[in-house]
């Protein structure tokens, strides 16, 4: 028996999907943790109109302009965007298998910033980034309430 997913589809602006066609998709995510669409304001001028797709450096484009997120997905978008940033820092501090608890991303960010400020840490360069991670590890107890363990850590023999 075929285990191919049968997908009910409705008509879109360009009609129904075409059998034999390949489609890039964004379907959000069950539970609503992944925003379905993030609208930016103001839009970024881009004159290179084209068919098909092209690679872009979206972070660079967003950084060069003072855009904000708007629309109905804005809360989940901001939370998601922040989580992408601070989840990596949480792993640097606590190790793999640790995630920031839902609703605690902003508190984690503010706590980490306060720890760095109080330690007199100054930004700049890879060495400074390592130093920041060391400072945060030394104060891991203050961040611990914001994170949870999601999987067993590997045993070291």
């Amino acid at each position: 028996m075929s285990d191919v997913q049968v997908r009910p589809v409705t008509r879109r602006g360009c009609g129904y999907p075409k059998p034999g066609g390949v489609y890039l998709e964004s379907q959000g995510e069950v539970g609503g943790t992944l925003p379905i669409i993030v609208v930016i304001d103001p839009p970024i001028p881009h004159d290179h109109f084209h068919r098909g797709w092209v690679y872009i450096d979206l972070d660079d484009m967003l950084a060069k302009r003072q855009v904000s997120y708007v629309g109905t997905s804005v809360v989940s978008a901001e939370e998601w965007h922040l989580r992408q940033t601070y989840q990596r820092i949480a792993r640097d501090v606590f190790g793999e298998g640790v995630r920031i608890k839902d609703g605690q991303v902003i508190r984690f960010r503010d706590t980490a910033a306060r720890i760095l400020v109080n330690a007199g840490w100054q930004p700049g360069g890879i060495a400074h980034a390592r130093q920041a991670a060391q400072i945060l590890r030394a104060h891991a107890g203050e961040l611990a309430a914001c994170v949870e363990i999601t999987q067993a850590r590997p045993q070291v023999e």
């Binding site: 191919v4 879109r12 890039l24 964004s26 839009p43 690679y55 450096d57 820092i89």
Partner: protein, 205 residues
């Protein structure tokens, strides 16, 4: 260093890119344009994505690599995404439309828009609309108005297929069998087969 700087660094540290469109997390982002022929305004795209998610057809011989589920973003462009006004303010523009006393115009003024410039694009066509837009020097130009997070690449099976072609499967493309939601019938193919071939020729051009 103040607390704000600490936040800025924390944010920049994890979101820096290599200058080639690839974030330090290894995820690439892409840009697609949505055609004004099918989606007259960016808001039409936004409404459709809210209702059905995003689905963008791409040529099967050009599948993007380096996309990471939940991290890579599909930026959405539209030929009328960016609005400029040579004269007046947006409040004055709104007041000019409100002064028309047209119920259809009032209905558009009362709608909620996520892409604000689309409101003026969606005003009912009339001489009055053209006159107002001209008086304020309103112009629209191409731009990026939103992005979605990539969640996968899909191949819609033809009726006689049971799996995605091997070359696509090898690239992580997942096969689905599409049926019309209202009726449960298979997706139409008859005269689409010809159109599809034309489409693919167009992609190649």
């Amino acid at each position: 260093m103040n607390k704000q700087n600490g936040r800025d660094w924390l944010a920049a540290g994890a979101h820096s890119t290599d200058g080639k469109g690839k974030s330090t997390a290894g995820a690439r982002d892409i840009l697609v344009f949505r055609g004004a022929e099918y989606w007259p305004t960016p808001e039409a795209v936004i409404r459709e994505v809210h209702a059905q998610g995003l689905s963008v057809r791409i040529p099967r011989n050009n599948i993007p690599s380096g996309l990471v589920r939940g991290l890579s973003r599909i930026a959405l462009g539209h030929i009328k995404a960016v609005m400029t006004m040579e004269r007046g303010t947006e409040d004055e523009l709104r007041a000019a439309f409100a002064a028309l006393g047209d119920p259809q115009v009032d209905a558009v003024l009362a709608r909620t828009y996520e892409h604000a410039p689309s409101r003026w694009l969606e005003m009912p066509d009339s001489d009055a609309k053209r006159e107002i837009l001209e008086r304020f020097g309103v112009k629209f130009s191409p731009g990026i108005f939103a992005y979605c997070y990539w969640t996968g690449t899909t191949y819609y099976l033809k009726p006689d297929e049971e799996a995605a072609p091997p070359d696509l499967a090898a690239k992580g493309v997942v096969a689905v069998r599409g049926v019309i939601a209202d009726t449960g019938e298979p997706l139409p193919l008859a005269d689409d087969e010809r159109r599809q071939m034309e489409d693919e020729e167009e992609w190649i051009r």
